[in-house]
Amino acid sequence: MSPLLQSYRSLLLAVLSLLLVLVILFACTVGSMDISIGQIVHIIAAHLHLPVSAEGFTPAQDSVVWAVRLPRVLFGVLIGASLALTGAAMQGLFRNPLADPGLLGISAGGSMGVIIAIVFGSTLFSAFPLVLRQAMLPICSILGSLGATLLVYNLSRVRGRTHATTMLLTGIAVNGLASSVVGTGMYIASNEQLREYSFWHLGSLGRAAWPVVFICSICIIPMMWVLCTQARALNAFLLGESEAWHLGINVQRVKRLIICVTAAMVGVGVAYCGVISFLGLIVPHLVRMLIGPDHRWLMPGSILAGAILLVSADLTARTVVTPSELPIGVITAFFGAPFFFFLLSIRKRNVR
């Protein structure tokens, strides 16, 4: 790799970081109350006990930014980053730039867990203390995602090795099974349960509050770090599973690690903000076009770009139909699906 290429890539990451900071600040300014970027910076600095004057903003502005907008934006950063990184890892693992965590049935498994929690929760968990009952929805979602992934993984292992094609096909079957369970759940659900489910199902960052942001960071950030340490192994995977093994990668262990970590990451995200589709597919693609397929650059790039895109999508979701808001999954799918068609048409043209 020439030094020129290296500095180009570093520059690109720096630009993305700067863009992310700007998007975060800008997203905090938008809403029913007018607050300038300067005031936002002041408010954040004041809360971080930095020596700034507390003159430039009102208490109302302070509470809107600190209690409502900032946690929501940071939650978006976290979820966007983890979805995009998961997508990058999955595409590397399957050597298929069209792979997506959704294909493995991870999100579908999460949905299955959630519908079970919503429809049967009141009877199943009634003996649990209140705190635990509130935690059951995320727990069920994570268990659903993990269960679906483990099912796909175990079914697709042939003589101790996993074949990507078999795995993707099994993923389709798991998706089918999950949607039948979800369909049954929706059929027997009451009106109120149905509304709760569909609000969750389409995805929203509306649940964001400091405790949620805090819990998610504790879960997601270490897992993101683990995935990033596998960048070189993922590069070798792009040559093929046998080739990765020839290069000294412990293929089965790396695969198991990546599958478990991505399943858990998607499970956590899905539990708190529902199914946000297409982000994991599109972001690694865009970043690959800019920075190349080397995972040591692709993964940090995807983290930054995923955060930028999800915060922007959330901004759109909560401004286009003010005072109400759209589910964020609607926005990502609205822009994501055409992009996916575009990718497919490029691939079709490239097939010789």
């Binding site: 790799m1 792009l238 020839h246 290069l247 000294g248």
Partner: protein, 261 residues
């Protein structure tokens, strides 16, 4: 270097080969020959650890193959597969640098960049530096992967003999690159290493291989020094073609010409 004893392999109920025993010594090029479906590629996969034999065992450099730690093994043996599919737009030098994976702790060192350069030079592709891998032709890709496996075993001291496995390395190559590829393998072996090559072309085997193992119907039909083993009789029995040895004018070298029976 490699000791195979009573190797058998079966895909489910279909036996591919059974009860193969042989040695491969340090400092020799061994060609595995045989008709389609004789089990050459499967044997290669068992020898380099891709597949576990159904029974029997492979000892590599004095230690059973399955006891090797993947990274340590990768520092001692490299494999060039028949065809590599890489659909991602890496630069040529990034693909070659992947060969250094088992030797790296952190990022690439300047010495790795130099090895990458030398390996590309060895396969005559240094002027492709900076090109996108996905824009190359099949033969060019094959040579890039040859450079990658050379980089993997570059400058390994002779007291730690290593082994280069090539599975039909000439399938995509033009005539001159077929010879230059095998010459690269010869140079590698001359430094005190070993190479195992699956070949189809008997003349390439005659010219470059020290010994051959001829597989036929899942058994070793014959093995030994190339010129002694590849008799017209054996070629007729195994490949079903008539073979004639023809002397190359002005040289003490023979070439084999085959016609259908």
């Amino acid at each position: 270097m490699i000791k195979a004893s009573q190797l058998s392999y079966a895909y489910g109920p279909c036996p591919i080969f059974s009860d193969l025993s042989f040695h491969i010594n340090v400092g020799e090029i061994v060609a595995i020959l045989g008709p389609n479906g004789a089990g050459k590629t499967t044997l290669m996969k068992v020898l380099c650890g891709d597949l576990l034999p159904t029974s029997g065992q492979v000892v590599f450099a004095g230690k059973p193959l399955r006891k090797w730690e993947p990274r340590k093994l990768a520092q001692r043996r490299a494999v060039l597969p028949q065809a590599s599919t890489l659909d991602f737009a890496f630069n040529v030098e990034e693909v070659v640098l992947m060969g250094r994976t088992p030797h790296l702790q952190g990022g690439e060192r300047p010495v790795d960049m130099q090895i990458c350069r030398d390996a590309l030079q060895r396969v005559d592709m240094l002027n492709y530096w900076g090109r996108l891998y996905t824009t190359l032709s099949g033969g060019e890709r094959q040579r890039i992967h040859l450079a990658r496996v050379l980089a993997q075993l570059w400058e390994i001291p002779a007291e730690m003999p290593s082994c280069l496995f090539l599975d039909e390395p000439t399938s995509n190559l033009d005539l001159s690159h077929q010879h230059s590829t095998l010459k690269v393998a010869s140079e590698f072996v001359a430094k005190g290493h070993t190479s195992v090559i699956v070949l189809h072309d008997l003349n390439l085997a005659l010219k470059h291989a020290d010994r051959v193992i001829v597989l036929h119907r899942g058994k070793i039909h014959d093995q030994g020094p190339t010129a002694e083993v590849l008799t017209p009789d054996l070629i007729e029995n195994v490949f079903g073609v008539k073979a004639h040895y023809v002397r190359i004018p002005g040289q003490n070298v023979y070439s084999v010409v085959t016609t259908s029976l």
